[in-house]
Amino acid sequence: MNARLLFNEVKAKTDPLGPDNILYLGTGPLDGLPIGMGRMSVACKSPRGTVAEGSFGGFFGPELRRAGVDYVAIRGQADHPVYLYIEDGNIEIRDARHLWGLLTHETDAALHRELKDPDIQLRYIGPAAENLVHASPIFGNLNNCGGRAGCGEVMGSKKLKAIAVRGHQGIRPADYEGFIEAYKEFRERLDLKTSRDMWTPVWSVYGAPVLVRLFAEMGNLMMRNAQEMQWDYEKATVVSGENYLNRYVTKAKSCWCCPWPACQKLHEIKSGKYEGFKGGNYWAGQPVAFGSLIDNDDLEFILVLSGLCNQYGLDIFHIGYTLSWAMECFERGLLTKGDTDGLELRFGCKDQQGLIELLRKIAMKEGFGQLLALGCTEASKIVGKGSERFCLSVKGLELEGIAQRSMLMVALGIAVSEVGPDHTRWYPPYPCHPNLLSEKELADLGIDLDLKLAFQTRNPKEKGKLLRWFTISRGVVESLPSCVFLIRDTLGFDMRPWWNLFKAATGIDLSYQDFIMAGERLLNLDRAFIVREDFRRRDDRPPIRMATEDVPYFGFRKLEPSLFDPMLNEYYEANGWDLETSIPKRKKLEELGLKDVANELESLSLDVE
């Protein structure tokens, strides 16, 4: 729905921070059913011109549906700060001048006090998004955020500080008995004894930071702005999920009706210089963004930096990668203390108070913070002197926690994403068992893929086809929406349990092929959106560092054209897109029922034939 609405309603070349951009908050057909389907999505045109799409956990999506609202579309711009109040179908725009400037957790507390309802669900932005800081997401439930491609920034441009929702209606599946049966089948996929997903036991106890030690072992931790990839295992152990759980976690926390033990955690630092600092959601990204990238093995300082990002409403990857870029520039003499307001900006983070102050300056766009608030892509254009070689971004958005040269499908997925780096558009294919599915199972599911080859992480063959399948099936997951941790049993290859849930919930008797086609339609709509904004094959590239530097210690090759281009060709070919331009062809678009999209592209003189 987001992709369709965005393509139809936000016309080509719309000013992303102007009144005509539209911010969508969407639920899906399974949202609010008591089986852990509590996600919702946000989308708009990103300030960089791409699609900005993301999703949230928490409780907001189900509450929105209980209020009788499936979709919220926000157009225009207020002349003073406002918030949106939704209750059982009634929608009011209310004054938010008293909330403007508050940190996210202050906003949360203020609105709960004001509305005198502890169960009200909120989404809000922090000062960073108010100040239109690059890549700011939208926040909720204190530590959840979504839409890191700039959805918060767009919300800030509309002077919309928050959305509050309360509903009292029930949600019932169309076919109740059928739904119970479908749910039993779905639950088998989550059973520790029968699940084929290697993450099932791990996620449910530790959440994603458990990856850190494994990443160190695999050469997946980007160190010192990815100049090196072998961060000390001992350092990785200090910042690992295991250590975090043992020392700092005060409470486990789950999203709406999740059938798993809680994968999110709340934490508190109980002694030392940061005594009393509270936060939550230490995830796989934080140990990279505020750990290995800037070579900081002080877990408490990582918790403080990531907690402050949540409070200011900043994106942790924007900050982590932009800091590490700036540190590399400083150490190479491209930035000096004269540029950094006197800060000795070096890897290893000796001046912790200086970095904490820098974070505030970024959110408030003050002093040196003004440069870093732009993100590393724009900042490197201003600094020049070759500093763009150290900028780790794709389509203007900073990378995430996953390395690329060690896993070729990841490299391809990050490069081609219509949002910019976003591993949530597919499934990270950590080494999987090549016999995860038999050839017969694959054939029954209509999947033409050599799984053994596809799962060889550093063999370029089959990566385009694998990525295409993962993106399509993930598109289906996000449209339901379902938490991806609940769906990884066969890495999204077998979507039949979710198809059965969909049919029982909605009463729509869709064929399995049509169900899967929704994911392919989504992918093609997003691609059509960005080609309309002039993104082409030239933009589907890894960052310069990844394309030009080997990783000798682990034997990973640089992603030079001779390695990368065949994968890209395979991906375009499998999608039915033009090999030279990446523009979807009319034949494919019409197959997907998107004739109007082909016509629209053609009307803009884009070659779809």
Partner: protein
């Protein structure tokens, strides 16, 4: 022949072992032998990794095997030989 191994335990294995890593001496020749030996020390260890029906590596478990000076790789075959000074991560 006695071998010395560097064993690392991650994620759901940690509550069973109670430690994050250890060095151990063993006469195990394959990973399968090693798992059986570790099961004697840490009850339930074998069940995490070895599928009762197929006797192959469970789909929802992972072992990384690294020989000295080489990049660790994910294990598929439990009958893979274990070399002296190998570094093995159980996940």
């Amino acid at each position: 022949m006695m071998k010395e191994l560097h064993l690392r335990y991650a994620g759901p294995v940690v509550p069973i072992t109670g430690i994050l890593e250890e060095y151990c001496k063993t006469e195990a020749t394959t990973l399968r032998d090693l798992l059986a030996e570790l099961d004697g020390k840490y009850g339930g260890f074998d069940e995490i990794f070895v599928n009762r029906k197929t006797r192959q590596l469970n789909f929802n478990a992972m072992i990384y095997y690294g020989e000295p000076g080489k990049v660790p790789v994910a294990v598929i075959d439990l009958d893979q030989p274990v070399e002296d000074h190998a570094k093995i991560t159980f996940w």
